[in-house]
């Protein structure tokens, strides 16, 4: 008879779950880490990491068969020949779309920590205060000062490179030495800074790559092959960072192929007893019990577990008493911006493949700036010399044509804005019991859209960058809007928001489910608003903070 009781159960092994497992095991708890998908061992299982492009029959591109098999994934870059095996199968794990939604998931140990964009930014004071001040959604129950030390704590461990800028809208992290802007980016940065009198800046994109030794990991090698898994551990992932730390304590049990169907709720104690797991290798269910449960299954899946739990007490699931469970879905809207050609610098190039670009922090609706919409956006982009894929108009075919394409072309620069989406109650996910997945479980239905505020913002997202590039002397500046479908940002947030009042929120200020206080939700589901910066660093900080709180409450006998 195997031991099925633990101090804590963590559901999901991505960025948040990995952090929960590390923190709880290091504090002495016996932890069961459940992952619905297969295991991927660090380095050993990164099959694509050292595979050159010519070993792929279609050189990384998608085939017609792939397009047929992945009707959702095909909408963006996840459908490719290189790391397709890291993205969840549309066929096995379907969902329905009352409104168009793109859901790109990673169902394996490490989750999307293996494929994430690695951009890492702190939230600012304003991000935590805006909802309350503007009367949008509900007020965050916490402020920047509540998370500040946790940011520092997770940054020291994860390793975040970046430059110290002292910007109120983008607090500095505890940084490793910054990666370098290239010469054209530096030139554009200087011109923007001068023209806007420091109110707008172009800085190196802050990212979870190590530029200084961290035990157990090697420095980033500037291969820019991150999304295959890094054999050097050059970027933060569950595998490179939190999992080895958790395993080192001797307190961790990792169980892959363990799909959590529901949380077992005890109505007498008003606490969770543990979870019911569907083992996807033998299709049998197993019960595991624990004192506390950390739901870190990714925003929508954490909410899905709640929706399927304690339905005899609350028909809409555990944590649904406020009527907010599943509501207030957010993402970042993007795929629009501007770009252009840079004259000169023909005697300059760059060496190495930098795995980050530049970042232009938010400047709209900040300080004295006021627009006809709320919140703001930041830009992520790069300057580069054109490669072999370019048009060489003056050359037809032949040896000269080939030799010309073997040399870098002109410089160009461009970026996409990433804008904040407000939390709208009617942007919602619901259980769709009329459709089931491979395991016979009900799927999610998505009903999410951007509204007037975001649409107005998209105009500025294009025009502001065009203006800055023009000011910097960039030629042939063009704006673009490649259209955004909710979810494409792969920053899904909300659906179990934190708040101050159990009547209007699902979680309290310590990520505890109001209705069941030994269940913590610390992934993107907990977000009360979205900010415009990439969210993962904040999940890390909130998870470490909640784990600390949970253990202190356990010690006090409160859980």
């Amino acid at each position: 008879m195997p031991n099925n009781h633990y101090d804590a159960i963590v559901v999901g092994s991505g960025i948040s779950g990995g952090w929960a497992a590390k923190e709880l095991t290091e504090k002495g708890l016996k932890v069961l880490l459940l992952e619905r998908g297969r295991d991927i061992k660090h380095v050993k299982d990164y099959a694509e990491a050292n595979k050159p492009i010519w070993e792929y029959p279609h050189r990384g591109d998608r085939t017609q068969q792939m397009i047929e098999d992945y009707p959702n994934l095909k909408r963006d870059y996840p459908l490719n020949e290189r790391n397709l095996h890291y993205w969840a199968s549309d066929k096995d794990c379907p969902f329905t779309e009352s409104k168009p939604y793109s859901w790109f998931r990673g169902y394996h140990v490490g989750g999307r920590s293996l494929m994430w964009g690695r951009q890492s930014y702190r939230w600012c004071e304003e991000d935590f205060e805006a909802n309350g001040r503007e009367g949008i959604g509900v007020d965050w129950p916490i402020r920047y000062k509540d998370v500040e030390s946790w940011y520092t704590y997770v940054e020291k461990f994860a390793g975040i490179q970046g430059s110290y800028e002292h910007l109120p809208q983008l607090p500095d992290s505890h940084f490793l030495p910054a990666m370098e802007l290239n010469i054209v980016e530096k030139d554009v940065a200087a011109k923007i800074k001068k023209h806007y009198n420091n109110l707008r800046t172009l800085i190196i994109g802050r990212s979870a790559h190590i530029t200084q030794k961290i035990p157990g990991r090697e420095l980033c090698q500037y291969r820019d092959m991150c999304w295959n898994g890094c054999p050097f551990g050059g970027y933060f992932s569950t595998q490179s960072s939190t999992l080895p730390a958790a395993e080192a304590t001797g307190n961790l049990t990792l169980r892959p192929f363990s799909l959590v169907k529901e949380i077992m709720y005890d109505k007498d104690t008003k606490k969770a007893k543990g979870v019911v797991v569907l083992d996807t290798t033998d299709n049998k269910t197993y019960e595991f019990t624990s004192k506390i449960v950390f739901l870190c299954a990714s925003s929508f899946n954490s909410t899905w577990v709640l929706m399927n739990s304690a339905t005899d007490i609350w028909p809409d699931g555990l944590g649904s008493s406020s009527g907010e469970l599943g509501h207030n879905v957010m993402d970042h809207h993007f795929r629009c911006g501007a770009g252009g050609q840079v004259e000169g610098f023909e005697d300059k190039y760059y060496f190495g493949h930098r795995p980050t670009g530049f970042y232009i922090p938010r400047f709209r609706n900040f300080g004295s700036d006021k627009r006809d919409y709320l919140r703001g956006f930041g830009y992520q982009g790069a300057a580069s010399r054109q490669g072999w894929g370019r048009e060489v108009a003056e050359l037809s075919i032949g040896g000269d044509f080939k030799d010309a394409l073997s040399e870098p072309g002109a410089w160009s620069i461009g970026a996409s804005a990433f804008g904040e989406i407000l939390p709208y109650h009617d942007n919602v996910i619901k259980l769709n019991r009329n459709k089931t997945d491979k395991w016979g479980l009900p799927v999610l239905d998505m009903s999410v859209e951007i509204k007037e505020n975001e649409k107005k913002m998209r105009k500025d997202m294009q025009e502001d960058l065009a203006e800055m590039l023009n000011i910097a002397g960039v030629k042939n500046v063009r704006t673009y809007d490649n259209e955004y479908v909710p979810g494409m940002g792969i920053h899904e947030m909300g659906t179990a928001r934190m708040g101050r009042d159990p009547k209007t929120s699902v979680l309290n200020g310590n990520n505890q489910v109001w209705d069941c206080q030994n269940v913590f939700v610390t992934d993107g589901a907990c977000m009360t608003s979205a900010s415009c910066v990439n969210p993962s660093l904040t999940y890390m900080a909130l998870t470490a903070r909640a784990a600390d709180f949970a253990v202190s409450e356990l010690k006090k006998g409160n859980l």
Partner: protein
């Protein structure tokens, strides 16, 4: 959006061609049942010669050595929609027909000089057509031969290692790196 997509977006925005899969945006919906969609060994040999004419051996490898013909058949068969496959097969016939008209015999029987002259003429026609065509019109048939040659060549081992400076593990980044005319593109293994 990942960085690869960002670079592609900038390329599109600044006039670079996006090469690969879905460039035939206006697909014809009346498949011609008369066209066979399988490639023969002769077809592969033909495509090798077309590609070699587009990208001949210089101080770097030629397209034939990089097995671009074989790549084209695989890519067209697996990645193209049926109408695009048909257009590609027809395009092979059109190259041959144009060769007969210009030189009096099939492309495979033509000398290297004749092939070059022919494809320069076809490429001129292509450039002219592309410039004037309406958005919804199909691209000129030679467009895909040229683009697949570029794609197949620069993603091949021979092309990547002889026509570019292949640096799979640079170990560092220098953002202000001196460049002189003739220095090659620095590439990784993607």
């Amino acid at each position: 959006m990942n960085r690869r997509e960002l670079i592609k977006m900038i390329a599109t925005l600044t006039g670079g061609a996006v090469i690969g899969g879905e460039f035939f945006l206006a697909g014809c919906n009346n498949p011609d049942k008369g066209v066979t969609l399988a490639f023969t060994a002769d077809d592969t040999a033909f495509l090798d010669e077309v590609a070699e004419t587009i990208f001949p051996k210089t101080q770097s490898a030629g397209a034939k050595e990089a097995k671009v013909g074989d790549f084209m058949t695989r890519y067209v068969t697996d990645c193209y929609t049926q109408p695009d496959q048909e257009a590609f097969h027809k395009g092979m016939d059109m190259i041959n027909a144009a060769c007969k008209k210009q030189h009096g015999h099939d492309f495979m029987k033509a000398t290297a000089e004749q092939r070059t002259a022919l494809l320069i003429a076809i490429d001129k026609e292509r450039a002219e057509y592309q410039k004037n065509k309406k958005q919804e019109d199909r691209p000129h048939y030679f467009q895909s031969f040229k683009q697949l040659t570029i794609l197949g060549y620069f993603t091949s081992k021979e092309g990547r290692t002889t026509a570019t400076r292949y640096e799979p593990v640079p170990g560092k980044y220098i953002g202000d790196y001196d460049y002189k005319k003739g220095d090659k593109i620095i590439t990784n293994f993607d």
